[in-house]
Symmetry: C2
Subunit: 193 residues, 2 copies
DNA sequence: ATAAAATCTTAACCTGGTTCAAGATCTTTC
DNA sequence: GAAAGATCTTGAACCAGGTTAAGATTTTAT
């Protein structure tokens, strides 16, 4: 199992010693993913945090009318998954689906709890991780309010380089909070300029 | 200084012993706030996390055209402030302003770092705090996409009971991502039903 | 108490984005 | 490799919410 990516990610916030690396390594489950595969399905309790070793996934919410709302994309070096139910042990309302072939590291809730209990460094790592995610999300809310769909699209392309090749336009549209039709028009307009 | 509210808040996630309570207590600075007072101004580096002991505050972002975008309200028992610059020590882009008289507990960055180093329980507490805030924010993004301005307004009233009396309509409108005029129309429509 | 300033309301008009529908392209499957 | 299914594009009609402006109400300062 290749743990280089996750270890160097964690080490950018804290410094793990050998024991901690070993403990982490033995907590993780490697899983190869196929394009289109459903990694977590809404309705079941989420059991893992998901770290991307390679490939692309998206997390989305299906509303009462059956429409999907993409809330997050993730590629190599990002965490994904359904934070909600991990802590509460309730069924998650989010699904996570592979957008390409790749490999994920599954980090089971029980192992995470153990690691958090034993090595405070992981508490720190996750505190900082959540803190940063929180700030990014606050920024996204501001962006959604103050920016037009066109500039949100441009900002999506900047923030997720290469992602566009792996995601269907309807999912990008969903992430941006617009219809596929309008995204199509927006792209055409941008090309013509 | 009254630390009952903050201690019972923290104890809902972890269990502090006497020493930890004492250490926390000596880290906090009590501050009485007046209505309209600017507690943190954008442009300066944020030095504190802010815990509400009593009263109401809002955190907002001023865009390049001079328009304010309210990103958060807080009342008794909530944390507030500008997470962004605390970690990076860069000037914050957010301002925090008192909406009523009250009392806040200021938690200086340096003291927080010390506490986090010495007592892993605080790492855990803040990890969970940020985790929960993150989930709430994810939910708010979904709500913004799938719900109409009217239902967001109703949901604001539910989630912040009593807040409406302390906040001007233009700030509520800003939080909801609509214009004050449209909020005015919406409220009228709701009254007539 | 009164003037000045800020906020809130109402109304007419405007626009970014939606909806619906039809055709064009790309993907899967047998 | 043809048929069926998705996805993507285009256009026309439509609507939620924005903009502007003017008057009404509330708050603040003197």
């Amino acid at each position: 199992m290749n743990i280089d990516v996750i270890v160097s990610h964690i080490n950018s916030y804290v410094t793990l010693n050998e024991e901690e690396v070993r403990a982490l390594s033995s907590s993780l489950i490697s899983k190869t993913i196929k394009q289109g595969e459903l990694i977590v399905e809404s309705g079941e309790p989420a059991r893992y945090m998901i770290f991307m070793n390679a490939g692309y996934v998206m997390t989305y919410y299906t509303d009462k009318d059956g429409f999907d709302h993409v809330i997050q994309f993730a590629s190599t070096g990002w965490w994904s998954g359904d934070l909600y139910s991990l802590s509460e042990n309730k069924p998650t309302i989010y699904s996570t689906r592979a957008l390409s072939a790749g490999e994920v590291l599954l980090f089971p809730k029980a192992a995470q709890d153990q690691l958090l209990d034993k090595y405070p460094k992981f508490e720190r790592y996750f505190r900082i991780l959540f803190h940063n995610a929180l700030m990014r999300l606050q920024f996204r809310i501001i962006e959604n309010y103050s920016a037009t769909a066109e500039s949100r699209y441009l900002s999506f392309r900047e923030r997720f380089p290469g992602m566009e090749q792996h995601v269907s336009q309807k999912h990008i549209a969903s992430y941006l909070g617009i219809t596929p039709e309008f995204l199509s028009k927006t792209r055409k307009k941008l090309q013509q300029q």
